[in-house]
């Protein structure tokens, strides 16, 4: 088994690990670095549970090789809170009861921050529902997730 040392900045820290060429970013985060907040729901690029940001953009960590991310900046769900203080999107999910089992939540939150970033001027319910098309939730019925994202949008753009 040939391995290569792959380095990247994750949540502001420089990390390295020896991995195979076929190692996915999500495996690199979870298995090499114990960052298990990023979930694997489907492993077939459909569900969005594995969403993280690479250079500020939401992407599916199950559909990119660790080697493709060499040298880049990654933010995972673990990198959002400021100490004890939750990120406004996390806080809005908590306030609005936007999770039940919580499995989809890390991906939802990372994806939701992307929605706010892309629509900083104005955001309506229709846009939120449309742009959530890459994130599946089996529990909530989405209603409170949409509410949370709209609430966080107000907070984040105030």
């Amino acid at each position: 088994m040939t391995t290569t040392t792959v380095s990247m900045t994750v949540n502001g820290k420089q990390l390295s690990a020896d991995v195979e060429n076929r190692t996915l970013l999500v495996q690199y985060l979870r298995e090499s670095h114990g960052l298990t907040g990023t979930h694997v729901g489907c492993d077939t690029s459909q569900c969005g549970a594995c969403t993280v940001h690479v250079d500020g953009l939401p992407i599916k960590a199950c559909t990119i090789l660790a080697r493709q991310v060499e040298g880049k900046e990654v933010t995972t769900i673990e990198g959002l809170a400021d100490g004890e203080k939750l990120h406004p999107m996390q806080e809005a999910f908590r306030e609005n009861h936007a999770l039940q089992c919580g499995f989809c939540t890390p991906g939802m939150v990372m994806s939701a921050i992307g929605i706010v970033d892309r629509n900083s001027d104005s955001l309506d319910e229709k846009t939120v529902r449309h742009e959530l098309e890459g994130n599946f939730c089996r529990c909530t019925g989405y209603h409170n997730i949409v509410k949370a994202i709209l609430a966080a949008h107000e907070e984040m753009t105030a």
Binding site: M1, P58, R67
Partner: protein
């Protein structure tokens, strides 16, 4: 997924020569098609040649007559470009209908057309606007680029560098998406302008195709009524769990009609 050698190409020439010297290599662009394929072990290339560092292949350029999209430009960039929205709104719209936001942040036009999935969106714009595909070796007319299901005119070590779309007078794209994947069950791209009047259909058959009867009717009169009674022959169309050939044929006309209405504004 089987393991493979991995290399990031430093230039277009480096990419092409790395591919030529690999046993059974594959370029990787956004990986949105290739990685799922590797995971299912539907492909087992010996080498992946990553195009990610080829910055010259990223970006959109608009002049008076055309919109040029670099092969490595992600769908999200084409969708969000104010210049594209002004010059060819239908192209911006099409890019925004592909997959979901995370797919659009990674997937590229070069990857989409080189893969030529029967249900992919971009092939309909390439054919429906009479675009030209530029590679490291030559220029290929959009009409000649797509040769069959998952087949293109590309040679093994040939890579797409950019696609040049002539700016039409009017154009629109309408798609009936698969509700789960968002791939086109049927998508119809219509345009009229310097490249003539074109109707390109994706999702319905094994490969994107033009609809000559509708094109002739629209040349006479570019109105939804011109196409509403034209029936698409269903004998070569796809049947799968999502839709029968007969239903797809029906959708071709419905999507064409809606697209013409939208193009007329």
């Amino acid at each position: 997924m089987y393991d493979f050698n991995y290399k990031r190409a430093s230039s277009v020439d480096d990419a092409s020569s790395s591919m030529a010297s690999a046993d059974d290599g594959k370029f990787v662009a956004g990986g949105m098609t290739l990685l799922p394929t590797l995971k299912q072990r539907l492909a087992m290339p010996s080498d992946l040649v990553d195009l990610a560092d080829l910055d010259d292949l990223v970006g959109v350029k608009v002049d008076n007559n055309s919109v040029t999209v670099g092969a490595m430009t992600p769908h999200a960039v084409v969708n969000a470009s104010e210049e594209v929205k002004k010059a060819i709104p239908a192209l911006s719209k099409l890019a925004g209908l592909i997959g979901d936001p995370m797919v659009r942040n990674r997937g590229t036009i070069g990857g989409s057309i080189s893969n030529n999935d029967p249900a992919a969106d971009y092939p309909s714009a390439v054919v429906g606007l009479g675009a030209t595909v530029h590679t490291n070796k030559r220029e290929i007319a959009g009409d000649d680029f797509f040769t069959g299901m998952f087949e293109t005119a590309l040679e093994e070590d040939e890579l797409v560098t950019k696609v040049v779309f002539p700016i039409p007078e009017k154009a629109s794209y309408m798609k009936f998406p698969n509700p789960a994947s968002r791939y086109a069950i049927v998508g119809t791209f219509v345009s009229t302008g310097s490249q003539g009047t074109r109707v390109a259909v994706t999702g319905a058959g094994p490969c994107v195709f033009r609809q000559p009867e509708m094109e002739t009717a629209l040349e006479n009169q570019f109105t939804p009524e011109s196409v509403e009674n034209i029936k698409q022959d269903d004998s070569d169309l796809n049947t799968d769990i999502h839709a029968s050939a007969e239903y797809r044929a029906h959708l071709v006309t419905v999507m064409a009609k809606r697209a013409v209405a939208e193009a007329n504004g």
